[in-house]
């Protein structure tokens, strides 16, 4: 009874500690701190993974892999840097790996069929208001299949996760100019695909 009480108290205490402190305690083998960290960070990791891999179930699988990788590599975590940046790096890399392997399994005609169906659904849409968030998310998942893993990761981190260029460069371990280049190409491809699939959204809508 005393043991259960003590464990609950530890959990409660861990829930109030900052990320970095939890990570350092977990590195020392403290499982309660590690569980608190997983519970706290799962929504963010699932969210970024979902935007990159596209499917909720796959995103949960990727999130599990991310936290297992975190557990294995906690000894390598440099506490001079933000824990979030380190976590995002692992989440982004594993999501890109997952995307690569799932794309290699995907049959090309299946993907094309999906695009054709999406085009049928989107024809006639003329304002963004007419698009629900869920539809926009689905549109993004469909057309972002044309992006490379890195381009998609940069676009997601920049436009959806509110990371700035410098932070993305640290997460992806590349230069800021590379990040800008990926973003430029991602926007160009998305622009082209939107014009192809739902031209009504952008045709003839010049500045008012």
């Amino acid at each position: 009874m005393e043991l259960v009480y003590s464990e609950n108290r530890d959990r409660q205490e861990a829930g109030e500690l900052p990320d970095k402190e939890l990570a350092l305690r977990a590195r020392g083998g403290d499982m309660v701190s590690f569980e608190a960290l997983v519970t706290r960070k799962t929504p963010a990791v699932v969210s970024v993974a979902r935007r990159i891999v596209g499917d909720a179930e796959d995103a949960r699988d990727v999130a599990q892999l991310v936290f297992l990788r975190v557990w294995e590599q906690l000894a390598r975590y440099d506490d001079q840097y933000s824990f979030n940046t380190w976590l995002y790096r692992i989440a982004t890399n594993l999501s890109i790996d997952f995307l690569r392997s799932s794309r290699s399994r995907e049959r090309a005609h299946g993907a094309t069929l999906h695009l054709v169906r999406m085009r049928e659904e989107m024809t006639g849409r003329e304002t963004t208001d007419a698009l629900e968030d869920a539809e926009l998310a689905r549109l993004f998942q469909t057309i972002s299949g044309r992006l490379t893993g890195k381009q998609k990761a940069v676009f997601v981190l920049k436009e959806m996760e509110d990371c700035d260029t410098k932070e993305i460069a640290v997460i992806l371990k590349c230069g800021e100019s590379t990040v800008r280049n990926h973003l430029f190409n991602a926007r160009r491809i998305l622009r082209r695909e939107i014009a192809r699939i739902c031209p009504g959204l952008i045709a003839g809508r010049g500045p008012r």
Binding site: P43, S47, L68, T128, M160, A186, R191, R205
Partner: protein, 180 residues
Amino acid sequence: MSFSCDDLRARVPEYLDGVLASVETRNFREHLFSCGECRDEVASIEPSLLFARVSLEEVSEKDVERVLAGVKAGVALEQAERKLALGRSKRRRRVAAIASAAALAALTLVLPGSARRSDSREPVRAAARSAAAPAPGFAPAARSVPTGTFPADATVYDWNPGAGSQEPRVVWIVDRSLDI
């Protein structure tokens, strides 16, 4: 300070070039997210910004529990594997230590006496002898090493079995009575 519709529209190029300060960038996105008209307007300039801040359904508590359960199972499995690997490597280290001790003993065992190089005054005889000698390699040796030093069931391997009696010998003795 939050953006007005005019501010936002005027600053689209700066946003796209990534030169807005981080607070301004956040305000830009917040306005874009909440204002349908600006979203339409910006979509005409840069359609990909339709997806800025697009929200997905919340990650439920059940999802978090599922991820946590999977991670805990994975960590437990990894810890079990690590323990197994540790046990294996301890056993391997013990065997390696015994083997290297045996090798060291064998290498220092030079029989008999001191080494004598092949006689440089007799090059023809030396060449003939080396051609006749079998290629170096471990082979069970005749028990020319002093018996009694090793148990009866030990096997003696000789590195240079064809060597003359005056040449250095390197032997490897495997003692089967050791339980490793």
